[in-house]
Symmetry: C2
Subunit: 286 residues, 2 copies
DNA sequence: TTGTATGCGTTATCAA
DNA sequence: TTGATAACGCATACAA
């Protein structure tokens, strides 16, 4: 019954062969006589045997696992990044393990150590510290040390760390969004949500300001509402603020879908409808 | 440099003690003399040493890891389930590892084997096979075998498998939703999205039908649009269909937020606005 | 084609 | 308080 406690030794014994043969049968079956192979596999199936991963990793002194760190797994954007990592990893015979930092720098540190203790083959990081305009010093130090043995890839940036980087094109996105609204005739466009200390927000905003003058849109600082957050409630509060100041925009650029949803909640509450009264473009759309 | 290749032997040697002492210092520091402890920790810090997880699990013959299987990690509902598992696990000194099946039965099988090979301390499953009205036979067999060694918890049901179950109250949710719309005066309420072969949808629909007659709402089979799916596109297509038949409801119950978003896209495309023309309640709200 | 023996990096047992 | 040594379960070089 204790199928978990079953080891390669038990299989070998019952099949009347050595553990080496069992090990071979399980990995490179072509190296073992067909009859022997079948005999072994019968026992394997009988006990539902699977080699202990930990023992395998230890014996091979390396794992075929990629650590994927994201800042918010409950954000579909990051969830999809993870899913893609899983897919690609699978193509190369690797698997992906999730490390979810929940936007906490402290967790990022812990997860980094956990992944390194797991001896993962590589680490990829999306969001969190790699989005900050100014990286945490201790974090970059830790990453540097880890990079001596584990390839490290980030989607943003890390001060003074020379690792592989994959960039997301913030500039193009905001251009598409503002351009679209401008063409629809919107003159009063608001920018809602985000955290100015993070590179993606910073870049988008800078470009947004340029576009405002480029398209000759209404230039009102109050239409820029950066709340230091990316959640539903941030969108809601920003919109409430705009409504209180009676600065209702006809078009809105939301930093993401969560913020957009919050904005909508606020609008609906005040009897405004989408898209009749206000057009909303979420950055996740672009 | 090679901080990963560093083992407990290296630390022991440089600190002038045995590996036993190093191991003790790392786990139960109170069992080692303070001076020795400091001497060891200096070396540990110097090399950024962390015991190899695989070796630890192997030596301890068990891991403090909970396997959490979800059908769609890019669905915030499941992502949050995972996050909660992480939190609770952490409270007990455990950690959670994600197994994302992407709604594929085949993956579920694979993940089950992977988790069992990892010798996780327990497995929790949300979504996928445990949501089906009729469970896959092979799957239930596999689960039964695994349960001999690994505690198995599911959020739905599994034919003939006697394991811990956590139920989500579908009935209450649909009651709240329909009741709310009915009180707002809606008489023409549609039910959109879901998969009738899955328990949650099945139960909600059955209750929905009961409520339709209870509140004396318009009883039109066409207002029930179950597309076998839970995505944006499902909501969109259902709504398109309703509009084509010119059966535009005043209130809509969407099976989840994705479907609701699709519905909105369709409405907007046809010049209808939310909530002026149509009220939408997503089941995720309840 | 198959088997023997060794190593992988820890923890745990039992002495010292 | 510390240390030698035996597990833990597997892969693999080397033999047979």
């Amino acid at each position: 019954m204790k199928s978990q406690r079953i080891t390669i030794y038990d299989i070998a014994e019952e099949a009347g062969v050595s553990i080496t043969t069992v090990s071979r049968a399980l990995s490179r079956k072509e190296k073992v006589k067909p009859e022997t192979y079948e005999r072994i596999m019968d026992v394997v199936r009988k006990y539902n045997f699977r080699p202990n991963e930990a023992a395998k990793i230890l014996a091979e002194t390396k794992s075929k696992i990629i650590g994927v760190m994201v800042s918010h797994i409950d954000n579909p954007f990051y969830a999809n990044m993870f899913i893609w990592c899983e897919r690609i990893a699978d193509l190369y015979g690797y698997s992906a393990v999730l490390a979810n930092s929940m936007g906490s720098l402290e967790y990022e540190h812990q997860l980094l150590e956990r992944l390194s203790a797991q001896r993962v083959a590589a680490i990829i990081q999306f969001g969190g510290n790699v989005d900050e305009c100014v990286s945490d010093k201790k974090y970059t130090e830790k990453v540097k040390k880890i990079m001596a043995d584990i390839p490290f890839v980030i989607s943003g940036r890390l001060d003074g760390v020379d690792c592989c980087r994959v960039q997301i094109n913030d500039i193009t996105g905001i251009n598409l969004a503002v351009g679209h609204l401008a063409e629809l005739g919107h003159r009063k466009v608001a920018f809602i949500g985000g955290n100015i200390k993070q590179v993606p927000t910073f870049q988008k905003l800078r470009e947004f300001k340029r576009l405002v003058s480029f398209y000759n849109l209404e230039n009102d600082e109050e239409l820029i509402c950066i709340s230091n957050g990316f959640s539903n409630i941030d969108g809601y509060e920003c919109m409430e603020k705009l409504i209180r100041s009676n600065k209702i925009p006809s078009g809105i650029i939301a930093i993401n879908d969560f913020v957009a949803a919050g904005v909508i909640q606020s609008l609906v509450k005040h009897g405004l409808s989408v898209p009749d009264d206000v057009s909303i473009l979420s950055f996740d759309d672009t």
